[in-house]
Amino acid sequence: MAQVRDQWTGRAGFIMAAVGSAIGLGNIWRYPYVAYENGGGAFLIPYFFALLTAGIPILLLEYALGHGHKGSSPLAYRRLSKKWEWLGWWQALIAFLISTYYMVILAWALSYTWFSFGTQWGGDTEKFFFDQYLGVTDSFWNFGGLQMNVVIPLLLVWIFVYFVMRQQAHKGIERLSRIIMPILIVMMIIITIRGVTLDGATVGLNALLTPDFGALIHPEVWVAAYGQVFFSLSVGFATMITYASYLKKDEDLSNSGLIAALSNSGFEFMAALGVFGALGFLAAQSGVDVQGVVASGVGLAFVVFPQIINELPWLNSMFGVLFFGSLVFAGLTSVVSIVEPAISAIRDKLGTTRTAAVNWICGSSFVISFLYATKGGINYLDLIDHFLNSYGLLVGAVLMTIAVAWTSRKVRDLQSHINRVSDVHIGSWWVICISVVTPLVLFIMTGMNIWEELQAPYGDMPYSGILIMGYGSLLLALIAAVIFHHMEWKANMEPVQFNEKEGA
């Protein structure tokens, strides 16, 4: 029986969902540090360059693949060329694996929203997070059993996400994004205003924005800019392919893509001001320079920010609720977007109902997520995150550009499709970026990651762990992708060629 494909209510719903997907934890805890470490204000130059030559082009490529071929990522690739269907599965499965630990980080953020009332983390925020809250074990292979502090919020987050995912895209994901995104933006504006008006904030803002143009001669700075743009825009996950496939037939792609990309970048630029204003305040209170307090990722959110909140002169709890609440909101709209590609793919391939696909995908992700809710969970999370991002996403994106531009040679067709439906027409620059610039840069980034891997084991982790969990997760995704590739299409969704659809 032919399925009725989910559909957004309109362009605004799609943009909200796409922006919700792109704006995630990395915008708040990754961009500020990357900018600070790579030339400060001068980082904006490679950042803009990367946005225009890789971020926006690859985002539009994914929109065109999903919208033009009207299918989840495996179906879209199959319609591009039969031999590339496995790549669609690979991208959807990498996103699925990322969702398993992303949920646990959301659980931490939910816990810390609660801990913000009365600053329950106390004076030693590092000890509280690692020893009391996570109860981290002393060796990698010591799982240490489930940590109930994490399990309970994890269950709450899963229940919420499950009920969102059960709804059709316009009732679940779109409604969630329409409600949460405006609230998140208001919360971040308040955080930023508070951050930049604290005593000592100027020191932090100077550290973030003072340009070091000399840094631009270092290739690592440019690679960092491309990496930030790539990971921040939610490309390579198959999410944007899936989301674009839910658009109506003649809905705009290019202007929507520009709005989504600039919303994402504008948000992280604003978040960086708030974060570095607050870091400048902490540095002033501690009598050290910004270098002494700066951090990124989990350390910034769960160790340094609680310290900042402790030091605030007034409304400490409210600032804590705003900050950790914004992490929860940013994470929620992102996590639904990385679960959706696998759900959509299963529905297309097996012809199942949405509920059945959600039960399978959310159920599997739910079970795996408990690995990261153990006392050793943060080690596994860190390792698997490194491998899935450094190789899973990057290799998938390199192959996507090769599949479109070099083996199928459909890049001009996709350009025509974008221009046919869009307000802003894209020119040959897009074709050059997708055919040459983007694959080249992504290839260099992958090569640099492999080179670093060969120098020393990631994070001083045991080789057994790297082999089993790091390479193992990639191998698992590859095997599953190949198996799905060879399975029979049970739904009545016979692959058609892109050009045939265009003429239809």
Partner: protein, 40 residues
Amino acid sequence: MNTGAIVMLVLGATGLWGGLAYFLWYAWRCSKKKQNVNPS
């Protein structure tokens, strides 16, 4: 804040937030035009 930092702040804000404002306005203008062409 030092001059260099202020300049980069203005450049970043203009490029990102200004760019976003422009494309939002452009989308609004195009949808208005389409509505005028096809009022139904």
